[in-house]
């Protein structure tokens, strides 16, 4: 058991390999957001439902 998540030796290597792929990819996102020096871009949580196209049936 690792990190309390339930991972064990059986899948640990694959989990680490996946994280090794994913984490460096986030650099593009970090770089873009680092440019927003005077704006606190809020995280998306959910998008509001838009008005229905065509209106009610």
């Amino acid at each position: 058991m690792v990190d309390g998540t339930g991972a064990d030796d059986d899948v640990e290597a694959e989990v680490r390999e996946l994280l090794a792929q994913w984490l460096p990819m986030a650099a593009a996102v970090d770089e873009r957001l680092a440019g927003e020096r005077f704006r606190a871009v809020a995280p998306v949580t959910a998008f509001p439902a838009p008005p229905r196209a065509g209106g009610p049936a």
Binding site: D3, V11, V15, Q21, A26, D30, R52, G54
Partner: protein
């Protein structure tokens, strides 16, 4: 063994709209149509499209629809038409397990609202379709319910996670199916199986009664044979009036091709299919121009981050208590998602706000943004990597989502439309993207294309031997 690769045109009605009209006019009966679909489901059983077929209930329901019609009552535009729904969508009294062992034995007491809407419009639900476990994956290769196979070549994947829905529509085991789409799970199987599928505007169709994957991106939508089918189904699912401008054509419509993105890093037959779609629409009067999305390349990282972190939260307790009940691939994804830093998740969600601003700005200059649905045609069953460019294998999961992440992250609607084939007859799909709430312009664009082309009419031919499911 190779599957079909045939290019059979339709015999009889071309799409759901046609068959519904035939039933309404008395040219056929719901029972005949439903039984024909059940026959297709049996013939193609080896493709693994269904987890459960509700044959007896479906025939009984069809008989009821015929009686109602004979008495002068047509429930709605789907009256008597067989449809299927993905196994993560609640159907009252039917096991709904999201392709998992964790939820095996779950039997909802009530239909999901989307199923209620289909039934209220007269649809006959013929079965639950197979899927990638918990919708977390792109192949529909499922250790609990079996491997779903692409009907155009049974050695290939139908993509996913709504792979069973795509196959069921493609082989005629139903006239439409519901899928769910978080990172591409309606659009990807629509593209590789040669059907038309809509990821609706996020939040526009209720996802209650559906097992979630990543709640900030989850949607449910239709997969069918044509854009006009999807328009009818979307009106039913949203409770809205059908599009009034479906057949207005595309004269003067502005189509955007994203600089350095839409046609970059794609296999040649995919580029040819999308270019063919643009040429056909230009020939109908549409204007094609370049648009910029300067930060689009971050979309894959953000997509993977959000799509990994949110499911790991939903599954957190089960993952600790019964990890052995998950298939290996999904377990690895969930374990990895549980270890992403909180800042990565927040950065990805912040990036979404920026990307949405950029897409909405681009959609002030054009009406529809066009990309491929995915950069390649169906990969072999079991493949974990794909070579979009020869000699450069890349992980399949990320490669699947190169283009589908843009609408998923921004909440915009996107329609996958068949637009060509590769040298082996495997379908290619184009993705059309509009402003949130802009489904009508997607249907109108695709309907114009489908009125002058036949890609959406191709059907796979039944191979000599379809493997018997284990």
């Amino acid at each position: 063994m190779s599957g079909a690769g045939g290019a059979d045109g339709p015999v009889g009605p071309a799409d759901l709209v046609d068959v519904a009209a035939d039933i309404a006019a008395g040219r056929t009966t719901s029972r005949a149509v439903v039984e024909a679909s059940l026959d297709r489901a049996r013939e193609w059983a080896g493709a693994g499209a269904f987890t459960h077929v509700f044959a007896q209930d479906a025939v009984r329901a069809a008989e009821g629809m015929d009686l109602l019609l004979a008495a002068g009552h047509r429930l709605g535009p789907l009256h008597g038409v067989p449809v299927a729904v993905k196994d993560n969508i609640a159907v009252a009294g039917r096991p709904t397990a999201a392709g998992s062992a964790v939820l095996a034995g779950e039997v909802p007491a009530e239909d999901a609202p989307v199923v209620r809407a289909l039934r209220s419009a007269g649809a006959v639900v013929v079965g639950h379709t197979a899927m990638h476990e918990f919708a977390w994956g792109g192949t529909s290769d499922n250790p609990h319910t079996g491997t779903v196979r692409n009907p155009w070549d049974l050695t290939r994947t139908p993509a996913g996670s709504s792979g069973g829905s795509g196959v069921a529509v493609a082989v005629g085991a139903c006239w439409a199916a519901l899928g769910t789409d978080t990172g591409g799970s309606i659009r990807l199987p629509s593209a590789v199986n040669g059907v038309t599928g809509l990821r609706p505007t996020t939040g526009s169709i209720a996802v209650d009664g559906i097992v979630p994957l990543a709640w900030s991106m989850d949607t449910v939508g239709p997969m069918a044979r044509s854009a006009r089918d999807c328009a009818v189904l979307t009106a039913v699912l949203t409770g809205s009036a059908p599009s009034a401008r479906l057949h207005d054509g595309v004269d003067g419509l502005r189509l955007g091709v994203v600089d350095g993105y839409s046609l970059e890093h794609v296999q040649a037959p995919v580029a040819a299919g999308v270019t063919g779609l643009l040429d056909a629409l230009r020939g109908l009067g549409a204007l094609v121009r370049a648009v910029g999305l300067p930060d689009v390349e971050g979309n894959l990282s953000a997509q993977l981050t959000v799509e990994a972190a949110e499911p790991s939260a939903y599954h957190h307790r089960w993952l600790r208590e019964r990890p052995g009940d998950y298939g290996r691939d999904v377990r690895v994804l969930l374990e990895a998602g549980a270890r992403l830093p909180a800042t990565s998740y927040l950065q990805a969600q912040r990036y979404r706000a920026v990307l949405r601003e950029q897409l909405l700005r681009a959609l002030e200059d054009v009406d529809v943004v066009v990309t491929p649905t995915l950069p390649f045609t169906a990969t072999p069953v079991g493949a974990t990597h794909v070579e979009v460019e020869p000699g450069r294998p890349e992980p399949l999961l990320g490669a699947f989502m190169r283009f589908t992440g843009l609408p998923s992250l921004t909440g915009a609607p996107a329609l996958s439309v068949p637009c060509g084939t590769d040298a082996d007859g495997l379908p290619v799909g184009a993705q059309l993207i509009a402003r949130p709430g802009g489904e009508d312009v997607l249907f109108r664009t695709a309907a114009a294309f489908q009125a002058v082309t036949g890609h959406h009419l191709r059907r796979p031919a039944l191979p000599a031997a379809v493997p018997v499911p284990a």
